[in-house]
């Protein structure tokens, strides 16, 4: 546990019947950090967030948030946490303004008191303040939800997949807004299934099947990728993946944007591949070595190492 950690989780486990949603998880979040959880659906992100927001009780382990135990101190904690669930859950039949006022009052504050905190975000939706929340577009709903989660000036903001189902422009805007919140020293916990968003976090935890695979700064996480990575392009991408996976020297081959990222057994690379692909009928193949992204590292962590390979975790 570091001195100024806002969240400190140690050996946390939670299961629902037979399903172990979280298995012995430990991590620390420092003050003012944007801490991202990246992982596929069902990895345990929502369960973890529900425990941190005092909605679920942990089975084992300790969770200390803002110096308070998440079980014993839940009453005090709720005043200081802003939570935006993955599913839009404001009152659809109340207007934008009414929702915001309502959440301000249940936290015992007023919109005016903390207006500067949400001003940037709320400005986007203020023209629609008389409109029922249910009639807003996806991006606007998300901004309203964020405003409502922030209106009581929480010390910790928990965002469960805030950008899922939102268009690319709104996603970018949303991250810009989070960046601006840094000056208010609000610690932000955010989960996302999108790898590209990981780079925008101060720290990233890769989570899969209830286990944290790695916690680090996003740049350092990619540094953990120890292999030589090659990017292979061709106009016939689907055929290319199949061909690459059939190539006897290939270790892994994953689609990545408009190219395929490939690693080879023992990182051995020569022009055998090029000859193999041209022989297979590809006419426009280009191969080049490339830097690993966070997705590559994640996929590397997810797949157990092959026998005889020199990979390190």
């Amino acid at each position: 546990m570091t001195a100024n950690s806002i969240i400190s989780v140690s050996h946390l486990s939670k299961s629902f019947g037979e399903v172990n949603a979280l298995k012995d998880i430990s991590f620390d979040v420092g003050e003012g950090e944007v801490f991202g959880f990246i992982g596929p659906d069902g990895a345990g992100k929502t369960t973890l967030f529900r425990i941190i927001t005092t909605l679920l009780l942990p089975d084992e382990g300790e969770v200390t948030i803002l110096g308070l135990d998440c079980v014993k101190g839940f009453r005090e904690l709720r005043k200081n946490i802003g939570y935006m669930p993955g599913r839009f859950s404001l009152y659809m039949d109340l207007t934008v303004e009414e929702n915001l006022n309502f959440y301000a009052t249940v936290f015992g504050t007023t919109v005016r008191e903390n207006y500067d905190l949400i001003a940037d975000i709320y400005a986007h939706i203020e023209p629609f303040r008389k409109r029922p929340a249910g009639k807003l577009s996806g991006g606007m709903k998300q901004k309203l939800a964020l405003s409502c989660a922030l209106i009581h000036k929480p010390a910790l903001l928990v965002l469960d997949e805030p950008t899922t189902g939102v268009d690319a422009v709104s996603r970018a805007e949303f991250w810009e807004m989070l960046k601006k919140l840094k000056k208010y020293h609000i610690t932000i916990l955010v989960s996302t299934p999108y790898m590209d968003e990981a780079m925008r976090c101060d720290k990233v935890a890769l989570i899969q099947e209830g286990k944290i695979l790695s916690v680090d700064q996003p740049e350092r996480i990619t540094d953990g990728f120890s292999r030589r990575l090659f990017s292979v392009r061709s106009s016939e991408k689907y055929k290319l993946i199949r061909a690459l996976r059939e190539f006897p020297l290939t270790d892994t081959a994953y689609p990545f944007g408009d190219s395929v990222h490939v690693t080879f057994r023992d990182d051995h690379y020569d022009d055998t591949l090029y000859r193999y692909l041209t022989a297979a009928g590809f006419t426009d193949v280009s191969i080049g070595e490339t830097r690993a992204g966070i997705e590559d590292r994640f996929l590397e962590l997810m797949t157990p190492p092959l026998q005889g390979s020199n990979r390190t975790l």
């Binding site: 005092t54 009780l57 946490i81 669930p85 859950s89 009152y91 009052t105 936290f107």
Partner: protein, 372 residues
């Protein structure tokens, strides 16, 4: 306190923002009262009677005349063949067959006992019993007449008879409207409060807003209170509407204290709202709530004593009925409105409702856990 006020205000905004619901809340009780009070009645008018008069004498005609004269019967058919009469009963074109055998008049003239035969359609047992009782009354009356004539023609002094005259206290004319209206008031208040409050909480669960509420510092009891109070207010307004319709439209008397009735209804409403919220904490969807809620409502209403007296139920059912809040409000409503009972007369029922209200609300608050 301030929090509860804002929570309640939010509920009202939501209720009246829904244009349909906002109106239905007040329209439904009015329509219910106007339809149910005069419609739900045990009074039977115009029992369709079929007479098979095989006698055709002065005596048999006199009996038929008496039946025709009664407002209760409508002599729709007179036939001879028995089979045809049975056919009519089968085809549901008459409710009751009265057969006067041949020789009926002659027997009466001779002074020998004679017989009549009546067959009733008992698909609706209550109907059959009632028409049977009415028919019996008419025949008994006719019988007494013959007896009186016979005896007085032999002796000069009139025969001594005991005549029973009866008086129906608290509802002299046995007006069914008077009987039903206080009962329907109870059901109306039950239905409005129970369904609205229960669905409201489950809806918050379904949409997920409850999740958002749970991370706020709002306390359990505040949340539950803010769900009870709006529907309590609406229920009491509906009650006032119902009473007004009873007095203005159906001339139902209001003998007792209106404040006492409102006090009891408030407790009753808290009890059923608490129960509705308790059920909704167990339900995940509105469908689940409706299904369980309906189960309770139907049992509550049918066993409330509005249609059939509780005293005629089996003992085990009467014991179950101790847990039926509608029983108590039904009794209180009738006693206060028709009889003018005071608090002392209804204190047992009152106490039962108070206990009920405390139990359901406490359970609802405890069941509604903010930390799962």
């Amino acid at each position: 306190m301030r929090t509860i006020y804002y929570l309640i205000r939010k509920e009202f905004i939501q209720i009246f923002r829904d244009k349909f619901l906002g109106r239905a809340i007040f329209a439904i009780p009015i329509v219910q009262m106007l339809i149910l009070v005069p419609a739900v009645t045990f009074e039977i008018k115009e029992v369709r009677l079929c007479i098979v008069d095989k006698d055709m004498t002065t005596e048999s005609r006199e009996l038929v005349g008496k039946l025709v004269g009664s407002t209760f019967f409508k002599v729709g058919h007179t036939t001879f063949p028995e089979r045809e009469a049975n056919e009519l009963l089968n085809r549901d074109q008459c409710d009751l067959i009265l057969q006067i055998p041949a020789g009926f008049g002659k027997d009466i003239g001779k002074g020998t006992p004679t017989q009549l035969m009546a067959s009733a359609n008992a698909i609706n047992a209550m109907n059959a019993q009632l028409s049977w009782a009415y028919l019996n009354g008419v025949i008994l009356d006719y019988n007494m007449n013959i007896l009186a004539r016979e005896i007085s023609s032999r002796s000069f002094s009139p025969i001594p008879q005991i005549e029973v005259t009866n008086r129906y206290w608290y509802n002299e004319l046995l007006n069914y409207n008077f009987y039903m209206q206080p009962g329907i008031l109870g059901i109306l208040v039950l239905a409005i409060g129970f369904i609205l409050a229960g669905l409201n909480l489950v809806k918050e669960k379904e949409i997920g807003t409850i999740e958002q509420m749970n991370v706020t510092p709002v306390k359990k009891y505040q949340f539950i209170l803010a769900k009870i109070i709006p529907f309590l207010i609406i229920g009491l307004i509906d009650l006032a509407l119902g009473i007004a319709i009873g007095i203005l439209v159906f001339n139902v008397p209001f003998e007792g204290s209106i404040w006492l009735l409102f006090l009891c209804s408030t407790i009753f409403l808290i009890a059923v709202l608490g129960l509705a919220l308790l059920i909704s904490t167990f339900s995940g969807t509105q469908q689940q709530f409706m299904f369980t809620g309906f189960f309770f409502m139907i049992i509550f209403i049918l066993m409330s004593g509005i249609f059939t007296p509780i005293e005629s139920m089996p003992v085990w059912a009467q014991k179950i009925d101790l847990l039926n809040p509608v029983v108590y409000i039904m009794r209180i409503n009738r006693m206060v409105m028709l009889k003018g009972s005071t608090f002392q007369d209804i204190q047992t029922e009152f106490l039962a409702l108070v206990l009920y209200a405390i139990a359901t609300t406490t359970l609802a608050v405890n069941r509604y856990r903010k930390t799962a």
